[in-house]
């Protein structure tokens, strides 16, 4: 089972890196971007195929290390992979939207 954890800065937290990236995009002439905030993505392979167990593992990983909840939120997406016709495909993206507070 695979999962993706997205860690972003909480609203209201100054994001100087995001501001710099936003400025760089403007200087490249890419118009139409009102604001930009940057974050981190973690792509994770899980030993379990049980979404509930996976959610528990990922929540612990986020709370204990991946996100600093003083300034960051996290979101977890768990991908259930079903084999169909011999080829694995992403049949169901079960959304586990666990947002840290």
């Amino acid at each position: 089972m695979k999962a993706r954890v997205v860690v972003t800065l909480k609203d209201g937290i100054l994001d100087p890196q995001g501001k710099a990236i936003e400025g760089a995009l403007k200087s490249l002439g890419i118009a139409g971007i009102d604001s930009l905030r940057q974050g981190k993505i973690f792509e994770i392979e899980l030993a379990t195929n049980d979404p509930t167990a996976a959610e528990g593992v990922l929540r612990a990983a986020c709370e204990k290390l991946l996100a600093n909840q003083v300034v960051e939120n996290f979101q977890v997406e768990i991908f259930s992979i079903f084999a169909s016709g011999g080829l694995p495909e992403q049949a169901n993206m079960s959304e586990e939207n666990i947002t840290g507070t």
Partner: protein
Amino acid sequence: MKAAIILFPGSNRERDALRAVEKIAKAKPSIVWHGEHSLPAGSDLAVLPGGFAYGDYLRCGAIAARAPIMDAVRAHARRGGLVLGICNGFQILVEAGLLPGVLMRNANLRFICRMQHLTVERADTPFTSHYAKGQVIKVAIAHGEGNYIADAETIARIEGEGCVAFRYSDAQGARDRGANPNGSVNDIAGIYSERFNVLGLMPHPENLIDPLVGGIDGRGMFESLAGFKGTPNQDTFGHRSAGSNGGLE
């Protein structure tokens, strides 16, 4: 006094801390590897030195804060032992939950390495008894992530309880003339824990102990530590007699 300097992979100021602790605080220092599970018996002070522990991967201090030795450092702090986190050590302390808040990227996105004036906010702690309240000192700063923030409630508590240790200022102690190098809230350069036995600060007092390098304003901290009366025994903490703890709480 006995001091343990914690060494993480990527620490680089441990020798500076060791020299200051040995020469000025007159302590017997030892270097303790982060993979250890305990501090040397009888340690009064644990120092988390500056550097780039674990290459600042994930977030500054994040991985070091979860190293095995940190449980021992937490236990040491709980029983009233002194903990000093300098620069990267401060970042590790906030990640480890020993101090509140977090150190974000400098507001101007630059690594800043220069001399900086600070005001000493209180002179009644084990770290600052050889300074005067309001004294302006000049020490080095060298960091890319020193922009201290916490939620409004935490900042109000820190300010209300007098837990701010140092603030960035100019040479006259003024804080309203662009003296803040990194955008830190309320010009905070260092903070204490609620019991004043844990101090984290971004500047490097350990580097200003010898006139050879252009100043000795960092000495006061280590002279203060030299006067520390010893860590209260774990079993008696909370019931100790007054004056046995070097002015904690």
